[in-house]
């Protein structure tokens, strides 16, 4: 109320309208989630005939049926859950670790070409991925990385877009921490692992989470490179394709809800970490 007392009437009206607009936008996001949960608990016929009505009976069993019905090339729900966890967690960790290490080396050590990766990554970001897709597929196939759990090492390039964030972070991180450690007798590895990397924990965690979210939802990579090791998004994609010949939209929605739960929970738990720690300005002080 104090806030309102300090405002003029036009300002109050303006703020009210803006707040209303935000509330409407927020409602649309929340309603979509609710609608998906509700559709998962309806029958297929109810979804088609009355897409916006409440179910006559809430069929929560559909969320259990998903584990039985979602199947791709002999891979059941739990196989796909394993693949999703493996490729998203292990893959993202490898990707983030190699990227931060690479960014640290390029930023804190001066050697011929140390600035080149920055330029290369900027150029790579402007190129459409499909331009290199064919060659990349051929390379992975000849290396035996298609349809293999070893595909995860493809994440170890160190040249991802997050390089720019880590580079900006280390640029702003004073080298005096390293100098102090050197005086105490620390070597290069000790400085990196015991002094510099711990300070990068917040940004590492934030970028790991955003990268994990993208990886968890990504179905194109698994669809293309891992046909016999499908992830959950691939399972849903395939199940959606099967909807051309199967009347089970209820199971499709239930599957979508189940698969989005981990990402939603993580975002709810760590949204502050994600939004506050990804700062090009790096740490302060």
């Amino acid at each position: 109320m104090k806030f309102l007392k300090r405002k003029t009437l036009p300002e109050i009206i303006l703020y009210s309208l803006v707040s209303l607009l935000f509330a409407v936008v927020a409602f649309t996001y929340i309603y979509i989630l609710f609608w998906a949960v509700m559709s998962g608990a309806k029958t297929h016929d109810e979804i088609v005939m009355n897409p916006f009505s409440f179910p006559k009976k809430w069929l929560w069993s559909h969320f259990v049926d998903v584990t039985r019905l979602l199947e791709v090339n002999g891979n059941g729900f739990f196989d796909m859950l394993f693949n999703s966890c493996y490729f998203s967690i292990v893959g993202c960790f490898i990707q983030q670790f190699t990227t931060i290490t690479f960014a640290y080396c390029c930023t804190k050590y001066k050697f011929p070409g140390s600035g080149l990766p920055y330029v290369i990554i900027l150029i790579m970001l402007t190129l459409p991925i499909y331009g290199a897709g064919g060659a990349q597929y051929k390379l992975f196939r000849s290396l035996g990385l298609v349809d293999s759990y070893w595909h995860v090492i493809c994440s170890a390039g160190g040249m991802s877009a997050q390089f720019l964030y880590y580079r900006a972070f280390f640029k702003n991180l004073s080298w005096t921490y390293a100098e102090a450690a050197q005086i105490d007798g620390a070597g290069h590895f000790q400085i990196y692992f015991k002094v510099m990397l711990p300070q990068a924990r917040p940004i590492f965690g934030a970028l790991f989470l955003t990268s994990w979210l993208a990886s968890w939802n990504n179905y194109e990579t698994a669809l293309l490179y891992l046909p016999n090791l499908p992830t959950l998004p691939v399972g849903i994609y395939q199940f959606n394709t099967e909807m051309m010949y199967r009347a089970r939209l209820d199971i499709l929605f239930a599957a979508c809800v189940l698969v989005s739960i981990p990402a939603l929970l993580l975002f709810i738990a760590f949204n502050k970490v994600i939004t506050t720690n990804v700062s090009l300005g790096g740490i302060k002080g």
Binding site: N73, F78, A247
Partner: protein, 515 residues
């Protein structure tokens, strides 16, 4: 709140860890590219995959020389993606009919084989009308069906009863009258799905009924005129049964008679709405009960009618004058098929007598052939073996097993739909326990003399290489019932569009025929 979320996360991660362990023993199909391993790529459409799993299990147990395994995709293009590509290891494709036969192994020896313990060849077990469409222009068979079904007009029994329709439509004019009755009672007579839905199958039926199966298969689809000249543009420009089929639709595919949204929804959506009573009739097929298996209780209220005979067929008859006489002839033909009467009850010398009216033998045959032309889409589900397969013999042995009595029983038990062949005894599968809708499919196919289909494309390369088709890709159903008046077209406008397509493309179709 945060603690609760963290606890939930911990539980999720714990479950994940459990799944990591449980996943270690996951079922994975392995494909070895050898002369004894049969790799099958299956388009998992409305038939499901249970039948194939059962078939493979039984085949693998029946012999020890070969081992079959499959992978599937509901996306037809994905299932066919590797066909003809370098490094393709698939030995048997189960897909929609493919135009290019040059990469396929002929299946004549499969057809000519006799399965041990069966008294006739596989070819003799097949429906002859179906085989006539599968025979390629060079006299060989490159694809044979692994599934599909009978197509026809499925109707809502309750709607028909409430609208007072006691006699199922025997002719297309009667179909229009039934639609009018339903509409007057507040029911929407028809629904379909995007791009004309399955009406395209009915168009082929009406076309073949009007011009006769011989012209339909051996002239139109052979691109050959009466004098034997081929290819010829005349078959496309002739105002034949295709025009008559459009004239049928003019009366029934109208904005008032068709469920709103039919032109844009997918077929499962249309089927769902149909089974929930949004429309009274829909062209569908044997797969309906399979695809809509979670609506089994509703299926009891639905049945497939014998396809109506195109009323314009009287143009081709000399002794049947008008709609009334045509209906009487059809009733007589049906009474024989249903066992209520015998042929002798109508026969009088070479001719037939119905209610004191003499019908010539030729007219009787014309109408009988039309009545027992049953649209199917067996040609839309074809098995083929790539020439380059390392396991051609194994794939052929698998097909022989599929076409054996044992294979037939495995398929029909799982899918509950007919195949274009029978048991070696000539009987169809044991349908006890099947629904009346499912049983009717077997009955309709058993009495089928011809099986017209939209996938007949092997008689002339203008249809396979050239890209020609009966209606030249014109979406006439959508045009007839478009809710927007500006998009709506009359039959003559549609026919002109088809003719324009022929004028624009005929030269290209001919030049695209591979030498």
């Amino acid at each position: 709140m945060k603690k609760t979320i963290m606890k939930a996360l911990a539980v999720f991660l714990a479950l994940t860890m459990v799944s990591l362990l449980s996943a270690c023993g996951g079922k994975k199909q392995q494909f070895a590219n050898s002369a004894t391993d049969i790799e099958i790529s299956y388009w998992n459409a409305g038939l499901g995959s249970q039948w194939l799993e059962n078939m493979i299990d039984a085949f693998n147990k029946s012999q020890s020389k070969y081992h079959a395994a499959y992978h599937a995709s509901a996306n037809q293009k994905s299932a066919a993606a590797t066909y003809g590509t370098d490094g393709d290891t698939v030995d048997l494709y189960l897909l929609i009919m493919r135009p290019d036969k040059s990469q396929m192994e002929p299946l004549d020896d499969v057809l000519n084989a006799t399965v041990k313990g069966e008294g006739k060849t596989i070819k003799d077990k097949f429906n002859t009308g179906y085989l006539s469409m599968m025979e390629n222009a060079d006299g060989h068979y490159y694809e044979l069906s692994y599934g599909g079904g009978v197509v026809g007009i499925v109707y809502n029994k309750e709607h028909f009863k409430k609208a007072g329709i006691t006699q199922l439509p025997r002719t297309t004019n009667e179909l229009a009258i039934a639609a009018d009755k339903l509409n007057s009672k507040g029911y929407t007579p028809f629904c379909h799905f995007a791009a004309g839905g399955y009406w395209t199958n009915m168009s082929e039926l009406f076309f073949s009924q009007y011009d006769g199966n011989d012209y339909y298969v051996n002239n139109f689809y052979a691109c050959k005129d009466a004098a034997g000249n081929s290819p010829t543009k005349d078959v496309f420009t002739a105002k034949d049964g295709r025009y008559q089929a459009l004239k049928v639709y003019e009366k029934i595919i109208t904005p008032e008679y068709v469920m709103g949204g039919s032109n844009s929804i997918d077929h499962v959506n249309a089927q769902t709405q149909f089974l929930n009573g949004s429309a009274s009739m829909m062209v569908s097929g044997s797969w309906l009960s399979n695809e809509m298996s979670n609506s089994k209780d509703k299926m009891k209220n639905f049945a497939m009618m014998r396809s109506p005979v195109i009323s314009a067929i009287t143009d081709k008859c000399t002794t049947i004058k008008g709609e009334g006489e045509l209906r009487k002839v059809i009733s007589a033909i049906d009474s024989i098929a249903d066992g209520d009467k015998k042929l002798d009850d109508y026969k009088n010398g070479n001719d037939y007598v119905i209610d004191g009216k003499t019908i010539s033998a030729a007219d009787w045959e014309t109408v009988t052939n039309a009545r027992f032309s049953v649209p199917t889409n067996f040609t839309g589900h074809c098995a083929s073996i790539p020439k380059y397969s390392k396991c051609v013999d194994g794939a052929k042995e698998f097909l022989k097993f599929f076409y054996s009595d044992k294979g037939y029983k495995i398929y029909t038990k799982a899918v509950k739909a007919p195949l274009p062949f029978t048991l070696s005894s000539g009987d169809v599968a044991d349908t006890s326990g099947f629904s009346s809708f499912e049983k009717s499919q077997f009955k309709m196919l058993a009495e089928a003399k011809y099986t017209p289909t939209e996938y007949i494309a092997s008689k002339h390369r203008i249809f396979t290489d050239g890209g020609a088709s009966s209606f030249c890709g014109v979406d006439y159903i959508s045009a007839l019932c478009a809710s927007n008046k500006d998009d709506r077209k009359t039959v003559n406008q549609i026919w002109d569009s088809i003719q324009q397509k022929v004028e624009d493309n005929y030269k290209t179709w001919v030049s695209d025929i591979k030498k």
